[in-house]
Subunit: 312 residues, 2 copies
Amino acid sequence: MLGERMEREIREQPDALRRVDYFEPLQKALGGRDFDMVLLAARGSSDNAALFARYLIEVHLGIPVTLAAPSVLTRYGRKIKYENCLAVGISQSGAAPDVAEVLASLREEGHTTLAITNTAGSRLTQTAEFSVLLEAGLETSIAATKTYSATLRALYEMVRALGAPIAPPVLPDEEDVEAAREAAAKLSGTVVRCSPLFALGRGYGYSTAQETALKLMECALLPCKAFSSADFEHGPKALAGPGSAVISFDGPKPHLESMGTELLVAPFPEVDETSQPFFQVVFGQWLALHAARARGLDPDDARFLRKVTETL
Amino acid sequence: MLGERMEREIREQPDALRRVDYFEPLQKALGGRDFDMVLLAARGSSDNAALFARYLIEVHLGIPVTLAAPSVLTRYGRKIKYENCLAVGISQSGAAPDVAEVLASLREEGHTTLAITNTAGSRLTQTAEFSVLLEAGLETSIAATKTYSATLRALYEMVRALGAPIAPPVLPDEEDVEAAREAAAKLSGTVVRCSPLFALGRGYGYSTAQETALKLMECALLPCKAFSSADFEHGPKALAGPGSAVISFDGPKPHLESMGTELLVAPFPEVDETSQPFFQVVFGQWLALHAARARGLDPDDARFLRKVTETL
């Protein structure tokens, strides 16, 4: 079956998300420390997960967050003067050289550094002062699924460890994964038929919109672009209209439907808004997998992609 | 002629870019002040211009930059504890309410606030402590062109006023605008024929990639997505290959050509890398205009778009 490994890994998420408690080691490492800002360094899917953390940190801790532009260091050789900073490098393989370079530089300058990775002994764990191992198990499909949601969880627990007054996250169980599959199966035909595709979200849901767009592109080779729901109104909306489809992680958008756009509204399970990304991303993953299968593509064998990407 | 106003405004850029000296008033307002960080708040094209400023500030001043996520304030009602911060709101209309709210909040907290806008007396100028008026003249096409490049210039001069050891920017003259038109005219057929389209850039050129992708979408209704050249290697590259095209603002990409991707390399005029965006974005604007005309679309009359977009 096409995307067999991806399907297995999507289904492993309830288990992978509960396997270890990231909170305790993170609280031991970071609890009681104050930071003036948080720097998140990541690429690809991990960068999308970082967007979730950005909102959690800014909304619940009130600390400014910056998503690193590694080329400032790796291409232009410039070190930035951060105030007392927590620098977090995120990479499932732990091999991303530019993420490791940013972390090494901040550690050298005396900042606190944390690696979040699925790979013990990887370059990132050797670089950072503290490490969280995702322990999501080996991911064999090229598309990151269980490592993505495990990263979300690790970041959520990091924000709690830093003192955010939020409850532990509500996580999807097997029934939720199946419900997401059914919802996605119903909508995958529209996704395959429409072009261009847009994934919209705001706040906590923005990361899910970005991640779903990336998955639709890499698994199903469908041109999908994510926007914050607000940014979409500033120009790109010109592309909506008959033939196009919007996947909304931000609820109904009647004004887009009235323009003739097909509107796919991702389900909102009855959990706190801060836990929605754990549920909604599963819907996005299934959407990408179903669309890939409908197009006869094997997401376990994406064209020209290697599992570990190295950029400097 | 389709896009007549857009063409006129593209051609007005050499004049609009030289009309006023932003440097002196900015130096008067900001010179000698030190900031621990810079916050840039913007939407749409202005947000793309902000990306240029981000690299200039981090590389030449070593001060961390964050691109605001206005919904932290407007949706979740959270005020972030910034260190001594320069907050810059960018909006050609000066009407963006969420950008103004972010600025108002930072001003109230005692930070330095600056508005960059083309509209005297607009909400943003009333909100910020300091204002730079672009004076680019009325922009009547829906697509921002001369206000975009004028914003780039204002941001560049802001970075100089903050003490960056960079020369005044080299700006395109009428011959440069015509050379960009010719280069774009040759490549617009490929852009219309290929799907999906990708615009790639890194560092200073990343903003141009983002802005070109936005222009191709809003003017020519072509699905184009921008990536940092590094991020593109992490997944989206799966979509490259026969039928697709990459517009590179980052020089040749032979490995993408060898995959069968059409590669359109934006010209690199012989100017400092920091001045390239002023030249390369003109190429991107022409590309979008030519593609729109080839598709029988009028970029002066984009579907469903209003000139001023209000989001909260």
